[in-house]
Amino acid sequence: MDIEAIKTQIESEIQSINSPQGLEEFRVKYMGRKGVLAQLTGVIPTLPVQERASFGQQVNALKEKILLIIKEKQGSLSGEKLMTQKGSGCDITMPGIARELGRLHPISQVMDEICTIFSRMGFSIVEGPEIETEFNNFTGLNIPLDHPSRDAFDTFYLKSNSKLLLRSHTSPVQIRVMKSEKPPLAAVVPGKVYRPDATDASHSFMFHQVEGFMVDEEITFSDLKGTLGLFAKAVFGKDIKMRFRPHFFPFTEPSAEVDISCIICKGKGCSVCGRKGWLEILGSGMIHPNVFKHVGYDTKKYSGFAFGMGIERIAMLKYGIDDIRLFFENDLRFLKQF
């Protein structure tokens, strides 16, 4: 049987079909158990071995074609529109057909971006528990109890055990890592943190931080500046300016807050930067010798730097978001913008 002849026959037959019954008859004729295709398939074993494969392929192609033709006809018979226009190509102005991709939450995206930057610099990514001990969250980090420096870290405690709390920053992971490993160390720690702040456009009782630290025999404050300089350019672009301002954190000495030139007004002064031209993005410094003492490191031998940043703040600056609550409302119309 000539397959090409069958094709021509099919195309002319299908044109004249205008009812579901007609289509069913057509289907049985070609696809039925004793139909044309079955006969063709039956022929295969009788052919010379070298012809079988190519003939089989032709039969398969024919089968596909018939199935497609039947489907199309079903569609047109049931009154549904054909989206592609045969012959004249297609209406390319119709929406493309694709599966919709989901999105990662903007906080995850920013956090991943930051971790990737540091991971390319040789930092590894480490995580820690969200329920922490008072020691790891405060004492080990040189934040004494009953001291004003704790005011910056109001904390949720657990009812069942007053020595356990929800970490108020990711810094306790420094203590965990340093207690279990010896230098050289370079790690970044992404994660959730909690502080009992009343919720408003710029405060949330749960938010995210990325902490980073590096400890070795000759780590300097200038290394901290260089590392963060590279980071700021990677996140905010090559033209960004950066400044280090002396500050106080109990767990670092010397300590610095890091500002970048305002990404909205380019340093001229606007409402976002409070007319200062600078935006504070992170806190940093050289790890305090008392922290090293708590984890049993030789303070004469080792030095290191640490830094920490709030991800919501960076995401808000990066995308121009003006209300932190949007991150936790998870409106799909919001999430799908990133």
Binding site: H105, S124, M206, D223
Partner: protein, 675 residues
Amino acid sequence: MKVTYNWLKDFVDIKVAPGALADKLTMAGLEVTSVEERGGDFVFEIEITSNRPDWLSVAGVAREVAAITGKKLIEKSHKVTKSQNHKAEVKIEIENKKDCPLYTAKIIKNVKVGVSPEWLKKRLELVGCRSVNNVVDITNYILFETGEPLHAFDLDKLQGNAVIVRRAKHGEKITTIDAQERPLNTGILIIADERKPIAIAGVMGGRETEVTETTRNILLEAAVFNPAVVRRGRRSAGIQSESSYRFERGVDLEKVTCASSEAAGLILGLAGGDLTGARTAGLAKSKKRTVKLDLFSVNKILGANINAARMKSILKSLGFKTSGARNVFTVKVPHFRFDVNSPVDLVEEIARVHGYENIAMTLPRVKPKPRLGEQPDKVALIKDILTGLGLNEVITYSLMDKSLLREFGMYAGAEALEVLNPLSAEQEILRPALIPGVSACVARNLNQKQDYVNIFEVAKAFGLSGGVPSEELRLCIALCGTKSMLLDRGVVKDTAGFLQLKGIIETVFERLGLKAHDFRPSERPSVIDILLAQEKIGMMQKLDQPALARMDIKNKDLFVAELSLERLLFYYKPEKKFSRLPAYPGISRDISLVIKEEITAGQILETVKEEGSVLLRQARISDCYQGKQIPAGFKGLTISCLYRSDERTLTEEEIEPLHSAVFKRLYEKFGAQIR
């Protein structure tokens, strides 16, 4: 804290403009958050870090201004009136020197309490302090100028002859000058007369003994209280004041006498009266401290090259005294610098005044110890699979309302971890499961007129294991509503259901090479257990009515799944093995059956696989149908079987009997009919 430009000029000859001065201060660690021109002066709002109580005064900021502008600090000379050496008629008793190392009192008689002069009112007003009367204003003025908190009592209102510094007794109360009655406890340090409390030490005075227009004689207090005790006192009393703010951070003991004399001098000048006596109890000197500083180590930490002379001059400008050999200094710490105890504290001082901007940017020589294939990488892979399947990631709060547990049927099983100090009911407990938060998120989106919500969250769930608080990383997926897709031939609708959810989870398992997975109905209605290697690692659920009602979801089914990612990743083995591609083509054969409705696809497939010969390589469900052509109580099912041999190309004749046997078996076992 606020200071003014002109007030600073009392102490240092400032040649730079206010704006430039603000920048210099900011870059030295006193962050100026605003400069405001008011009444011919400039008000600086400065954020003082908690380690620098010595900056909590005009004089303290002026010392810094002098250091960073290279000027000399103008020391104010103060007159010491002789009569302050006379013993006053009031005795001072300190219960515990640890609570109060120093207490001084001056008695000034026959003062005329009245309105303050304009200059005094204006300065106080510029730094945000309301004018009360001349005596009170003077104590405040000295506080802002020197950082030494003072308090004036109406002497005639005190009972007896003693001022006692002691812990409050249980049940004692005081009405403070803000007219609030406050219960006291033994944790709170107070000033008392012989009968009752007259002030919360270092925090706020009592209303009964405050200085008013009718006051004639005063007792002027200048003291030092233990920072931790003041902190505890003001926290438990629930008030804060300019005084407590400074005492908590540390007040310079050596300047107490000086501040007291200055205040007395001003009172005599502005309100008249006579200084008739003074009393002091406690120490008058603080401990001398020295720190050894190795110059080499300064540059080593900073990665800088600052020479010895520069370091010396910086330290000198800040009030430190240096002596000793060329490379190692002995540095005498001034009494007001409580924060300097070790060499690294001096490193910061040197770096700060030298200028952080003058330290180079270098890159560390990293000796990386990369961790590969750690949990974060695997979790990222799972998230990528899920977004690839069209799901959107959400982040919901880890804290939740305890009352939600009941509607979600979780109260009985989980012992909730409660938060000691929640701000609202929404923060009562650490969530034992992700489902409630994710469901609320679905509800919110339905409210915003979304027809279809498909979301997931990866986060910790919390609980108690063996009485110890524990946390576990979990994955929660939620599907709800109907998705319409415009395909080639029109609109196709896909409504959320268990099988959609199962398909997503199966895809994750398969992509991670987790083969031994199973989905089984649990004892609970509408709940399906998810198993890996026979271990239950999670479940899928169609939310029931109470939960839907609580979430305010109407006329929609919500399907959720929650799995332990930690258990899932435990089984994950990233190694993959190559299987040789088939050398010979296979033959695919379908069987279309009509079977009783209650027979499951799983039962059918299992039987097919049992019966099928070694040549049957794959059997899968390719169609499932119920409708017109199928009698009620039955369903149509199509199974596609793939037969293949590794040795040769199979013929139809070989397959026929094998395939018939499969059908025969299905007929015998389930009474299946050919469709």
